[in-house]
Each structure stands twice: as structure tokens, then as C-alpha cells.
Amino acid sequence: MSKNDIKVALIGNPNTGKTSLFNQLTGLNQKVGNYPGVTVDKKLGVSKLSSTQNAIITDLPGTYSINPTSIDESIVLKTLLKKNIKESPDVILVVADVENLKRNLLLFSQIKDLEIPTVLAINMVDQMNRKGITIDLSLLKKELNTEVVLISARKNEGIKDVKAAIIRCHVAAKASPLCGINNQIDPDYFTKLKEISPNYSLYELWLMVTQNNYPETVTKEEKEKLLAFKKDVSKLKKYQHKETIYRYQEINKILKKTYIVDKSKAKDLRGNLDRVFTHKIFGYVFFVFLLLAIFQSIFDWATLPMDLIDGTFAEISDFAKSNLPAGVLTDLLSEGIIPGIGGVLIFIPQIAILFLFIAILEETGYMSRVVFLMDKIMRRFGMNGKSVIPLISGTACAIPAIMATRTIASWKERLITILVTPFTTCSARLPVYAILISLIIPDIKIFGFLNLQGLVLLSLYALGFATAIIAAYILHKTLKVKTKSFFVVEMPNYKLPSVKNVFFEVVEKTKSFVLEAGKIILALSVILWFLASNGPASFDNVEKNTIENTANQNFSEKELQQRIASIKLENSYIGILGKTIEPVIRPLGYDWKIGIALITSLAAREVFVGTLSTIYSVASGDENTATIKQKMASEINLDTGKKRFNFPVGMSLMVFYAFAMQCMATLAIVKRETKTWKWPLIQLFGMGLLAYVASFITYQILS
């Protein structure tokens, strides 16, 4: 960052397209969505305003005013009150939605009163004709006494004008307040307040008093004087109330002259769609059918590419073993690294299809209708409509979902949402479910069109969601925290999904899964191979002892090699570890090999499949390496002589993964958000206990 760079803070109501504008200005690819609460933390990017001028753009969370009601909104206030030369913004870029200009201007008027140079970017102007909106731009600039630019961030229109306006605004440097609250409410009171410090604007001082938020630069003496103003609480509340009324009066006056909506020209598709999507019966029916279609597609469309990837890796592994010189490194490649990579890549089709649907739902604006629809249900269980966003985004990953709870103002509702979000079926569970379903559920259609495998997958997602709601209800009844709650949700316009946004979302999420999960799975595969190929002193004698012990039995060479490999694995380090925990997991239907996969997947659930792939590769001792699915399907339970992954074991495992908190990164983020280890530990042990009991019951009933 150079000294000459302009520091620009990007502020606006939720879902006004701030992040889209941020991406256009900086060339970055931050996640955007057609629902509020996508940005819950500030993000930085550099924008080239002209050949000689750069700007550091800070994308701040959406807020309706600078009187914060939640953590994400308080970030905006803190940034605006900063007087530190390095961090305080030089120019504020307020983004407003053309359709909701009146409400958006409340925030603008507050920022303008802070006397910081401000540019107003009115976004989504491509919707103006359809909505019958006309704006007198030159008069609006004059009335607001600021730079105003009409833009469409999604269509990359007006971005050059925004850059030019930022430069002009920075050069002018001086900014005057818009509303000037002092003369309208109580001149004497506000004159005394202003006398406290010449270093701050009147509105900054007023915010410090009303929001109890004091920048580091406030002296002790100034703070004491400001605190004196807090003594008369009823007066403060009355003046805050008056302030809001006065602001809206001013905004109404300005918009009456500059902003015209001709309803006769508007096409009300939105109203018609909303009547269906938020209907108290049809809304839910449509949502269930939509989910059903999504999960059907995941199985129907992904099967072919998955089989192709699985088969290709089996052949690569086979090729490596047959053609490379025999030795430890060849074993590591063919039994550890190649099956490990295959165990990650096989799930790309399913993950990509899931994210494709989620991205389309977000882009169209349907997700906010789901939030609205769910509010009534959520409220009964101790959460509110805003909890739906974390629960739905938890289908991708619990980490951003838990961060998204920052939009929930009530601490109790936020804590409950944080604690139950990991029950939502995340993308890491999908590989586990997908492989187990393909092993134990027949690929048949019921009623001629419903794929049974897709239906089971949908039931597992429903199980996760239902458990989250029940757990929320229990926590609601047991947690003794008193907080007030209210729910406001922005209903964005319906939009055709942007192909570019959907494409980047799918690519980014899939790439992230492959790279992030892939690195962990690969590293664990290498270590597992080592632990499975080495052991204590007795390990070295396994081959010799097995040949001696089986001398009288008529084993073929292939059978003998398989037996040696199997006994070697049992006596390896990993075999000893698996055998140690076997008594604990046997009641759930698992053997020591599955036990090893349970241990390694404590770090991340998706490691489960890769671990089994590596273990069965080492155990097979066979040069004709099969696919992951074939290896698991052919695994035999030595006690019963039947398939290891039969229906009861498969169901028990899926139930275990539906409930268990097998993700270290989620635990770390819960600790960060709740600022204590108490809640992540309660999650870890509570969910673990629930998983154990539920899979025990499942196995015992089904077997």
C-alpha cells in the first residue's frame, strides 16, 4: 500500500450488490449472492482508479444503519469511527439499490453527517425500466450535495464513473453534513455535545454516546464528558427516535423531487412468484420438490463420470504396480498415493452438481424466500429466519456457515445456530454417503421416476436438518440466556442467474474441495501406507510364519499372497491401533479397518473413503487393483463370511457420520466465534455420544 492510495470503504444495506461492485473494482472473485448476509467480515482489494491513482477498497458487511444490532454491523461503525490515519477511510462509497432508494438513503444520510467525502452508487439501474423508475440525476446530486453514479455492478456498467467520482471526491476532500441533526432536535444539547472535542464531527460524538463505541483516539477527559451525556437514557432514546423521523422527512423531500415510480409501467412478476414461493402450503411443497429434484440429479448425473474417474485410477494404480521397478516407492505410489488421490477426485462430479444448484438458488433470489418461509418454523425451535442461511450454507461447509451467524442479533439465537449448524449435511459428508449408498442401496427407480439412491441421500440431508432443529429446541429450553429477538429480511428481486457468477462459484468450491481436502487426504494416505506397511518386530516374521502355518493347506499362490498381505496388515502399526479400538466399535457393526477410518476422519470426514481405499489396497496384495467401490464391496466379514458393507453396517455408518462432529476446522471456528473452548467441546462430545448411540441402535435393530 502506498501513501498516495485512496482508502475507500464500501458500505450499503444488505444485498445491494456491494460485493459485486467490489469484484468489479478490484478484479477479485469474492463470493456474491442474491441474499443478504454474504459478507460478514471486511475484505480488502486494490483498484486501479486511473493510470496514476490506486485505491484500497474495503468491502464491509451490509447494514441498514450505523446503529449496529449485530456483530457484522458493528464492524461498519468501528471502521467509520477510526481516526487512525492508516485505517480511517478517505472516501466512503455507499451502494444503494435503485428499487429501495428511500430506505437505503437513511444509511447514506448518517454517513454524510460524519463529514467524510462520500460517493453514492445507485446499483441495479438495469431494472429501472422494468420497475417504471425515473431518476433526475443532476437534481439528486445537487440535493444530496454529493457525487451520485448510476451503475449495474452485475453488468459491469458505470464502473468507470464510480472510479472517476472517487477521485473527484477525494480531491475535493471537504464534506458537509446532509441533515444537520443539531438544529432540528435540541440545539442547546447538541452545541454542548460538539464543545467536547473539535477533533470529531458532531455526528461522530453523537454516535459515540448512543452506540457506546469509543475510538482509541478519544482522550480520557473526552470520554468522561461523553459518558455524562449517557446519564439521561430516556432523553437519548427520544432524540434517537426524533433523529430517524427527521432523516426520513428529509429523504422524502429529496426523493419527491428526484425519484419517480410509475407503477403502470412496472411488470409485477415478482409479486406473482412470491405468492407461490412464500405460500403457507405451496411454498413448502415447492421447496420439498425442488430438493428432491436436486438430490435425484446428484445421483443420476454423477454416476457415469464417477465410475469413469474410479476406473481410471484403478488402472493407473495397476499400471504403476506392473510397470515400475518393484520396491517401497512403487508400493507407496500404487497403494498409498494413487488410491488416495482417486479417493478425492471421484467426488468432483457430485460436489460440482450440488454447488451448481446452490449457486443457482442463491443467484435467482429464491434463497431469501426460503429464509422467509422458514422463519415461522425456526422461531418455534429457538432460532429465527436468519438461522436458515447458516443452515443452508452449511450444506457446503460449516465454517462459512458459522461465520454467517454474525448477522443474528440475539446472542442466544446465534449460539444455538452455531451449535446446531454442524448437523447440516456438509460437502465432506457427501463422499461418505455417496459411496455407502452405492454399496447398500439398489440402483432402482420407484414409481418409475424416483431414484431410490437419490431418495436415501435426500433423507440423510433431511435427517441432518431435523436433528439440527430438534437440538435447537432442546438448547432453547435449556440455555438460560435472556435476549430480545427480531427478524428483518431483505427480499431481493428475482434475477436470471449470472452464468459467470454460477461458473466461478462451482469452480471455486470444487477447486477448494479438491485442493484443501485433497492435501489432507493425500498426506494421510502416505502416512497410513507407512503405518500399514510397517510394524513392530513380529511384523517381519509374518510372511515366514504364514507360509509355515499354511504349508498343509492347499492355497493357490494368489490366495497365499492375499493371506500374507491380510495378516501383515493386522500386525502392522495401524492394524494394532485398529485392533485396540475394535471392542468399542464392534457393537456398531464395525471392524478394526473401519475403526482406522473413523480415527483418521476425526480431522475431516471426507478422509474416510480415502483411508479405506489405502487400507484395502495394502491388504489386497493383489496386482489386479480394483476400484474403490469394488474393494469395499468385496470386503468380507470373517466372523459371518458375509459382505462387510452390508445394509446394517452401511446404515449404521451413515447415521454415525450424520451426527458425529468429525471436523477439527469447525471446532476451531466455533472456539473463535464463541471465544471459549466450552462450546466446541460440548459439540465434540455431545455429537460424538449421539452418533455412537444412534448408530448402535441402528445396527442392533437392522442386523
Partner: protein, 38 residues
């Protein structure tokens, strides 16, 4: 030679996982596997 390379790879894997879970950097703490928004 094969053994040396194989065991170096094992050592790399151990160091990687220790760095990720026992001594995590800020980035590792912020984002887990499968998470595309960090």
C-alpha cells in the same frame, strides 16, 4: 534409493499435518476442507 524417497515423502506428510492441525497458521484456522469461501 526407493526407500529413501518413500520415507522422505512420509516425513513431508507428517510435517504437513502437524503444521495444519497442531501448529496452524491463521489461514488454516479460518478455513477447513471443502470450504470454498475463504
Amino acid at each position: 534409493m526407493q526407500e529413501i524417497i518413500a520415507y522422505i515423502l512420509v516425513a513431508f506428510a507428517v510435517v504437513f499435518l502437524l503444521k495444519k492441525y497442531v501448529f496452524p497458521s491463521k489461514k488454516d484456522k479460518d478455513c477447513g476442507s471443502g470450504c470454498g469461501s475463504c
